[in-house]
């Protein structure tokens, strides 16, 4: 896939998502997931790691893209931003699994969005186990808003929390999930 053709499209989806358009956000994550999978598989291939590790990284990167999307500046190109996150997560993975990055060649920003890989593999992450590690309040907020699809005001009424409190809990919860994935990756390899 040609980068120049995906950049404007992905960027438009990203900007719509930033403004609260859920279907654009979903479309963006679906597109990125295939591209990230191809990128991580390619990178991990050099270190003899398999598709499950790649899928863990895809999910980690997707959560990071979602929870840190406020760091994207809409006046800037989108591809280098995604590449920055993907590369950071990859380097972090190498560091925590104590793989040497000396042999890692410097890639181009285009590499992330250059290819698609739609082979779906399940990651080693277990959402229920990850959720069990969250505080009850945060877990409930994630369950209602993110899994059951209740609106924030409905969830707030059910939990007996304020709406802004629910929003903060959801955001914190997603970040905590990402952190657990990072930690789990380290345990997994040790």
């Amino acid at each position: 896939m040609d980068v120049r053709s995906t950049e404007p499209e992905l960027r438009a989806l990203m900007i719509a998502g930033l403004n609260g358009d859920a279907s654009a956000h979903k479309a963006l994550l679906e597109r990125l997931c295939n591209q990230l999978r191809a990128y991580f598989k390619g990178q991990l291939g050099r270190f003899n790691r398999g598709p499950v590790e790649a899928e863990d990284l895809v999910q980690e990167a997707l959560i990071a893209i979602h929870t840190r999307r406020d760091t994207y500046d809409p006046s800037q190109p989108f591809t280098p931003w995604v590449y920055g996150i993907a590369r950071y997560k990859f380097v972090d993975y190498l560091r925590r699994t104590k793989t040497s990055i000396k042999d890692l060649p410097i890639e181009n920003a285009e590499e992330v969005t250059a290819q698609d890989d739609r082979t779906h593999v399940e990651s080693s992450l277990d959402l229920e186990k990850l959720m069990a590690g969250l505080s009850p309040k945060v877990r409930q907020a994630i369950q209602y808003v993110k899994l059951d699809g209740l609106s924030v005001s409905e969830a707030a009424a059910r939990c007996g929390m304020s709406e802004s409190n629910v929003k903060v809990s959801v955001h914190r919860g997603l970040k905590a999930l990402a952190l657990q994935i990072t930690k789990k990756g380290a345990d997994h390899e040790d």
Partner: protein
């Protein structure tokens, strides 16, 4: 877990993102950090006394100019470093300018005086105090800057930590300038410069540990 499941989860109830939150956090860290540094200065060594000649506005202005230019460039860099995929190389070059300028005027000032005066010009009266105070005054601003940066997504942790240390050190030195009894350009270039660079080095060591996400 299937990735589709995760994507469904992430794209359920998507909230619109408020712009400018990162910049705001960074601005607060600078303002509160600077104020805290100033208070620590007042509580420990205090403003320059009348016995030490009162505040000499010319030299104070030069010291502030030196430090504020470091803070300005450093903050501009941090704004870029907390966003993935931004070009920072050009701005990095600007960072050396204040240090080069201070070094240059320091050397010129030394050259204009006989070498017998150099000891006094370089060591001043309180170089040891300066050595302790600048890193001490930098602690609170550093903690606040780290808090603000953690809201972003720095991808080069050592570098981001170094710039956070540099800006915190420069805030500490700004506070120290209101106490500093030494009116000498070489003193400013050497001790202020060295202490701010030391803070940057400490920041670089702490960055990967404090900023990981």
């Amino acid at each position: 877990m299937k990735t589709d499941q995760l994507i469904d989860m992430l794209s359920t109830n998507v909230e619109p993102v408020k712009h400018g939150q990162l910049g705001k956090a960074l601005a607060w860290a600078l303002v509160i950090g600077g104020a805290a540094s100033f208070c620590v200065m007042l509580a420990t060594v205090g403003l320059r006394t009348e016995a030490a000649g009162g505040i000499h506005f010319g030299f104070l202005t030069l010291k502030l100019l030196f430090m504020l230019s470091v803070i300005g460039t450093g903050t501009a860099l941090l704004m870029k470093l907390i966003r993935p995929g931004q070009e920072v190389r050009k701005l990095f070059r600007f960072l050396f300018l204040p240090f080069l300028a201070a070094g240059f005027v320091g050397i010129v000032a030394l050259a204009l005086q006989p070498s017998s005066a150099w000891d006094r010009m370089i060591l001043g009266t309180e170089w040891v105090t300066c050595l302790f105070c600048i890193p001490l005054f930098a602690v609170v601003p550093f903690a606040l800057l780290i808090w603000a940066i953690r809201k972003g997504a720095p991808t080069s942790l050592k570098r981001t930590g170094a710039i956070a240390g540099l800006v915190a050190g420069a805030l500490g030195a700004t506070a120290y300038a209101f106490h500093c009894p030494d009116d000498s350009l070489p003193f400013m270039a050497i001790w202020y410069g060295a202490m701010v660079i030391l803070c940057a080095w400490i920041g670089a060591r702490l960055g990967p540990w404090l900023l990981r996400w």
